[in-house]
């Protein structure tokens, strides 16, 4: 390859860069209109996307969903954002400072005064590391800056979560080999949690309580399994990155600002920026230019990857081209190896659980060891040089200009000495890359830290130099959660935050925890204000009910294997929730929902309608003929505010096969109205105060003339 060709490469790249605005994102983050706390309110899976709404996935979610299909995991675990899993998070009725939206940060149970529902999908969590620093960070609503992620006193929860700060400057963990150690860490967290889930479900199933409270106990077990798979999904982000050719090389830099050697904060920010920009230049900026990128776009004999023991150097492709990866025969090698790695890892985790979410089916493809077989692919020298797309003279003419924006409030100025250092190192990279790509195009020296000698660029080391497990100090903490070490602080207590959010999954942990001590919870209800009382009651009832023995059966906590702290409900009280509410001084009332379907004809429709409640409890469904299923009656804490939301599902003709979705039409009946204690419209009822037992009826009528 001559450098005449290299200049041609440059030409293509520059044409590709035409649309880069001065404040452009460099990488494929998808939409980031409202980074930070606002973005954490989205359902993962509707962000980081490259297709038309509403059925597009972010690429990471799509790849994980494909892997779930291959792995034999229950298909329900691959559910999409239209039907997400939900967490009930007790928090504080307050807004995020400076952002003005309600906080979702898990608050101590003894002080929380409101509840938020957090929706998530397991495939969607594969996209999480591009928007949050950890699961705990997402659980906390991206409302705090994890240690090491601020570059100075002016950073806020928004700026420290801005994609450009995170991926642009601190995403060394998304490139090999740090991506491998990050994956290993999360995969092991997932396995550890999965094993705990199995112990929990085994304990439940061996308890006499299981015969009468199966759905309640299974709900806790399945939330535990979903938590384990969420950790695996986060880890799989890094496995997926390792299989995007733009990430198959060692970039320089670190996951926290503090690790960048510098003389002061400003110098540190500028060095991190320079490293991020050049790493992005090699990786590509197609997410913003919307034009083919030289490396991630693939489609070139120069863009190939090498894997020890693999008999050929296949064409490579990367970010924003998941569709080609999954469908184009040109990328079959990359696709099959990657999906085998991903599916094998998922299967390993799910097999370690009690598999309450469903049985494990047969796996397709080849079984791979995700740790030893799936991270040693590297981009070739020719691919790296193509990604760089510079020649030495142009490298020498590049100058780093700092900007002063709301996202970068510091007003930094690049010192002449640093500017010269950057240009000098850029020339070195470019000359080296040009020579290596011309003389040894099929080797992988550049990807293995050989871009610079001695592996340092603008003072930052190649990422293998600081590759601990995990490489980032803000990774989720070691299990168990919430743990008893008390290492957390009020400002940074990630183990406790995650446990609070997944509190059903952590039923054992909260059976013997000062935060959920029954007497203290009861005391809090007694002292609560009128405003706080409903949530205080709900929390008290939730946790006390787990400790309550009724009908001569063990408590949930005893069934979970925690014998301490349980007590027996008074004679005559047979309902666990009612008994707990009574203990807490809250009591409860029933809400019973009826669904009437009028003018039913003989023809079967696919329509299945119904309502679910907030707080959870009612999941009442009716088919087109008015046959009722699900939970149509539930107990709610005295004084709580209940609202019913319309739900619908596809009928039998549609099934769960999404490929049929477009062909599946249904004709809904008309909503006639509410009767009984409820008012409202088709979509939701008005708020209903549960100060007594309530009955509501939703009526639907098929149009006259419907066959």
């Amino acid at each position: 390859m001559s450098v005449l060709f290299c200049r041609a490469t440059l030409l293509i790249w520059l044409v590709g860069a035409l649309l880069i605005p001065t404040n452009a994102l460099a990488w494929d983050s998808g939409s980031e209109d409202s980074p930070g706390p606002m973005e954490a309110r989205n359902i993962w899976g509707w962000i980081y996307s490259a297709g038309p709404r509403p059925f597009h996935d972010n690429e990471h979610a799509r790849l994980l969903r494909e892997a779930i299909f291959r792995s034999g995991l229950p298909l329900g675990l691959a559910r999409d954002p239209s039907d997400p899993f939900k967490l009930s998070v007790y928090t504080k009725d307050a807004v995020v400072p400076g952002v003005g939206i309600p906080t979702v940060h898990p608050y101590p149970f003894l002080a929380a005064n409101t509840k938020r529902i957090r929706a998530y999908t397991i495939p969607g969590f594969a996209g999480l590391p591009d928007h949050s620093y950890s699961l705990a960070d997402w659980v906390a609503g991206n409302e705090t800056c994890p240690p090491g992620t601020t570059s100075g006193a002016l950073d806020t929860a928004v700026t420290c979560h801005t994609f450009q700060f995170h991926l642009g400057l601190l995403n060394s963990t998304h490139f090999v080999p740090q991506s491998q150690n990050t994956f290993i860490y999360y995969h092991n967290l997932a396995l550890t949690r999965a094993a705990e889930c199995k112990r929990l479900s085994d304990s439940f199933q061996s308890s006499p309580l299981y015969t009468t409270a199966k759905s309640l106990l299974d709900e806790m077990s399945t939330e535990c399994e979903r938590e384990a798979l969420s950790l695996e999904a986060i880890g799989q982000h890094f496995l997926q990155d390792a299989w995007a050719i733009g990430h198959m090389w060692e970039r320089w830099g670190y996951p926290t600002f503090a690790q960048f050697p510098a003389i002061n904060d400003s110098d540190r920010r500028m060095r991190a920026l320079a490293v991020g920009l050049i790493s992005g230049l090699i990786h590509g900026a197609e997410s913003k230019t919307h034009l083919p990128d030289l490396m991630s776009y693939g489609h070139s004999h120069d863009v190939v990857w090498e894997k020890p023991g693999y008999p050929m150097q296949p064409w490579g492709i990367g970010d924003l081209h998941a569709s080609e990866l999954l469908q184009d025969p040109q990328y079959v090698d990359q696709r099959e190896f990657f999906l085998d790695c991903s599916a094998s890892s998922l299967r390993e985790v799910y097999a370690a659980t009690g598999m309450i979410s469903g049985s494990l089916g047969a796996a397709a493809g080849t079984r791979r060891n995700p740790i030893s077989e799936c991270f040693n692919q590297r981009a070739t020298n020719s691919a790296i040089f193509r990604g760089l797309g510079l020649d030495p003279l142009l490298a020498a003419l590049l100058t780093l200009i700092a900007r002063h924006t709301t996202a970068s409030p510091y007003g930094d100025v690049v010192s002449p000495a640093l500017g010269d250092e950057i240009r000098t190192d850029l020339v070195a990279i470019t000359v080296n890359a040009a020579l290596m790509s011309i003389l040894f195009p099929s080797e992988t020296d550049l990807a293995e830290g050989g871009l610079t000698d001695p592996g340092v660029f603008v003072g930052s080391e190649k990422n293998s130099a600081t590759n601990s497990v995990p490489p980032a100090s803000y990774a989720d903490p070691p299990l168990p959660w919430p743990g008893s070490s008390g290492t957390g602080t009020p400002d940074w207590d990630p183990a406790r935050w995650i446990a609070r959010a997944f509190h059903k999954a952590h039923v054992k942990d909260f059976c013997s925890n000062s935060e959920t001590d029954s007497a203290t919870l009861k005391q809090r209800v007694q002292g609560a204000s009128i405003v706080d009382r409903p949530i205080a009651c709900e929390i008290c009832t939730e946790f006390v009910s787990r400790q309550m023995r009724v009908n001569g059966q063990p408590s949930v906590c005893e069934a979970a294997g925690v014998p301490a702290n349980s007590f027996t409900a008074p004679n005559g009280v047979s309902n666990r929730t009612s008994a707990a509410a009574d203990y807490c001084g809250c009591g409860s009332h029933s809400l019973t929902l009826s669904i009437r379907v009028l003018n039913v004809g003989t023809y079967r429709y696919d329509w299945v309608g119904g309502y679910s409640s907030e707080p959870m409890g009612i999941e009442c469904l009716s088919n087109d003929r008015g046959d009722i299923s699900g939970s149509c009656s539930a107990e709610f804490t005295h004084g709580s505010i209940v609202k019913l939301f319309s739900t619908w599902r596809f009928g039998e003709a549609c099934g769960v096969d999404f490929s049929h979705m477009r062909e599946c039409s249904y004709l809904p009946p008309n909503f006639t109205g509410w009767s009984g204690d409820c008012t409202g419209n088709l979509s939701f009822s008005d708020e209903l105060t549960m100060d007594k037992d309530r009955r509501c009826t939703a009526t639907f009528t098929w149009p006259i003339g419907t066959p």
Partner: protein, 273 residues
């Protein structure tokens, strides 16, 4: 400078940088100009009755790197022309007289000094002066190849979006800042970029090897190569390159060390730390 004239300058710089295809006379010979690699002191002239010549002792000291021998002290011009070198050992291919510098077979080591006497016949006893060049005729690396230099990159730069504050083309940006192309830059780093850009563009395995390209790069005429009108490499760089290559150093490592990482052959270039 307004935008139009500024960019005109950019175009000029890059066009010139990209069109460097000069064939250099010195490179066609088997000798390499190592003048900048020696420290040279000349004594005053002493009239020698026995030879009827005006003699001067020239002392050459090796600098940072060794210079392979044999070494010649070439008189490239005498003013007035009526004065001639009387103890010439021969002439160069282009007819310049020279004397041999008495160095060992290994050449002139760094820090080593040698002296040579030059004798001028000056029948009219006029005031005169001369220019000189120190040439090394050690074992050569590579062969001379003809290469027209890399193509210009103007059209692409012109198409890049501009930073509203600086007016410069933006190559890639983040919220905190961006890398912009300041084609008006002319300093030692751009000199390194232009030189190495020429060499890497020249490289074409099987046709033009790296040694060939390093040897054939246009030679800078001044000690401020970044101000020269076309891409060039200081003669000292190839001399160092050749020495290292002859010592067995691999070609890529040599080029990176001599031309980029150390870079002491480029005037005022600080190199990489």
């Amino acid at each position: 400078m307004n935008r139009r004239s500024w960019f005109g300058l950019v175009k000029l710089i890059l066009t010139l940088a990209g069109s460097a295809a000069t064939t250099w006379t010195w490179a066609q010979a088997t000798q390499v100009d190592v003048t900048s690699q020696v420290t040279l002191t000349r004594s005053g002239y002493v009239y020698n009755r026995s030879t009827n010549t005006f003699d001067s002792t020239v002392r050459l000291s090796g600098q940072a790197t060794s210079i392979p021998g044999p070494i010649s002290y070439v008189i490239t011009g005498i003013d007035p022309a009526s004065v001639t070198l009387s103890n010439a050992a021969g002439t160069t291919p282009d007819g310049k007289p020279y004397v041999k510098v008495p160095v060992a077979a290994g050449g002139l080591e760094a820090g080593q000094s040698v002296s040579v006497v030059v004798k001028f016949a000056n029948p009219s006893r006029e005031k005169f002066s001369y220019t000189y060049q120190v040439l090394s005729r050690g074992t050569d690396i590579g062969k001379y190849v003809s290469f027209g230099g890399p193509p210009p990159i103007l059209a692409e730069l012109d198409a890049l979006p501009r930073d509203p504050d600086t007016g410069l083309p933006v190559l890639i940006g983040l919220a905190e800042g961006s890398l912009q192309v300041d084609a008006t830059l002319r300093d030692p780093i751009t000199a390194v970029g232009a030189c190495t850009g020429w060499i890497t563009a020249c490289l074409k395995p099987g046709e033009r090897e790296l040694d060939d390209c390093a040897r054939s790069a246009p030679q800078c005429a001044t000690n401020t190569p970044w101000l020269e009108s076309s891409a060039c490499c200081p003669a000292a760089c190839f001399a160092q390159y050749r020495t290292a290559r002859l010592a067995g150093m691999p070609q890529i490592a040599t080029l990176m060390r001599v031309y980029v990482n150390d870079g002491s052959c480029f005037p005022q270039y600080k190199g990489r730390r």
